[in-house]
Symmetry: C2
């Protein structure tokens, strides 16, 4: 079988980019994978781990002749990276990203994506860990990937990107960028923010009574140990939705505060029952 791509360039060889290179080569979806980055020493670690067939710090060398360029950088750097690679793209080169925010990224890239090279992607995998040290082959396997084509998007390129993620074992869901951001704010970005606030709010008891902390608190705050570099950017890039979520959540807390203050037992019971049934509906 012919590989899906002759040359794939991955911009950024951290956990996400490195694991992608590893999977593309392992599944023979790409003949060559070029890892582009700033730190040659770290790029060489990625190559030695089998995440790339070649590495470089030069944009022109990296991107020229690529069928596919995947921007695997923190969200705030993605639009600028697109600008940097643009001079070396052919009309057929497909460019995608792996950013957790899509509205702001797709809008900014749209401003100068005159060749319609770009299709937005968000493979919803990863971990609290970051960096080339943690790359693994199966990272994308069985995950969900949201692809966010827009009206201006080249439909052939969008179809290829869908096939790519599916070939990596992912379930692909299509959404408009705005719809993506509403959805991920609710099920991922805002829950992270709420967990950060939960831990900081209880700093005193956490320091004082570690022995008493059980699995409930541990599970519910596990995501509070997430990487601050990545998450501060994700939250600011999706600030519109996050701010709406904060308001809605505070409204629920204020409502509960009133119910509790008045000792309205049945109302509280119904609220918890609603929560239980909703939570149980998630497999």
């Amino acid at each position: 079988m012919k590989p899906m791509f002759n040359k794939v360039t991955i911009v950024g060889m951290g956990l996400m980019g490195g694991s992608l290179g590893l999977s593309l080569l392992d599944k023979k979806l790409a003949k060559n994978v070029t890892g582009l980055g700033r730190n040659l020493k770290r790029l060489q670690i990625a190559r030695k781990k089998g995440a790339a067939t070649g590495v470089t710090t030069d944009y022109k060398t990296a991107v020229t002749g690529a069928d596919l360029v995947v921007i695997a950088l923190p969200v705030m750097m993605i639009p600028a990276a697109f600008k940097d690679i643009k001079p070396f793209l052919s009309k057929d080169t497909i460019v995608t990203d792996m950013g957790s925010v899509k509205g702001a990224i797709c809008a900014k890239i749209g401003l100068f994506d005159t060749g319609r090279n770009f299709v937005g992607s968000h493979p919803m995998v990863g971990s609290e860990k970051a960096g080339v040290e943690f790359i693994i082959k199966g990272l994308y396997e069985k995950g969900v990937c949201i692809v966010t084509p827009e009206k201006r998007t080249d439909s052939k390129k969008s179809a290829s990107i869908t096939l790519l993620w599916e070939a990596l074992g992912m379930k692909v869901i299509k959404m408009a960028p705005k719809e993506h951001d509403e959805c991920t704010a609710a099920v991922s970005h805002f829950p992270h923010l709420a967990a950060f606030a939960m831990v900081v709010s209880h700093e005193g008891q956490i320091r004082k009574n570690k022995a008493v902390i059980g699995p409930g608190f541990k599970d519910s705050t596990r995501i509070a140990a997430s990487n601050e570099e990545l998450w501060s950017e994700i939250i600011l890039m999706n600030k519109g939705e996050i701010l709406k979520n904060i308001d809605l959540y505070i409204k629920q807390l204020v409502l509960l505060s009133g119910v509790i203050n008045d000792s309205r037992l049945n109302e509280l019971k119904e609220y918890i029952k609603k929560s239980r049934i909703l939570r149980e509906s998630i497999k």
Copy 2:
């Protein structure tokens, strides 16, 4: 070796009471375990599962001659249950409970505990499941139990209760009832409430985009599937602390809302870093 207790009476043979009877008999800490409850059919299930040597619906039969009575009922029923058993207690009978709230329970029982029979306990184990169907032998093993002696508490009885939980494999921590309620509000009760609010707040997205919900959201809201009968009572019994926690948490969310609205990246990064380090300090 002589069993620690000749006759133990457990009031309420649900998950907590039933599992306790099973463990006491299995570890030969009690010669006889009498299960007291309202529903004889369910009590007989508990006996058949090995959680009791005898069962009854009669307070007098159950409590007379007991060395130890454990009230294993939902928190709001504990003070009334103490009143019901009081006529049948001898001066040496030790009475404890397993309620998740201690301030209100110890205060109410203190009003009529003239024989100083009572020592408050809170074994911090359990699950989302409730009822005799789910009883298991190892429930108490390796858990943490908070024992809450007060000035008026009989120190010999308090020492026996500590030995009991330790013999069941638990780590015992002593706290005053008020200190217990501050601590458990922070590390358990309030996080449950916040998870209920999180799920209800995102009802629309949960119904619409189930396929997109990943392990982060699942873990952080697992406790939102808790039993509404138990948790509505726990929250109202500890309402003073819970209301304080809601206020403190809303303050953190409002602070974050300002930081995000102004795109203060470094401040947000520092906040998340603080959260990460605190969360990582919990094993």
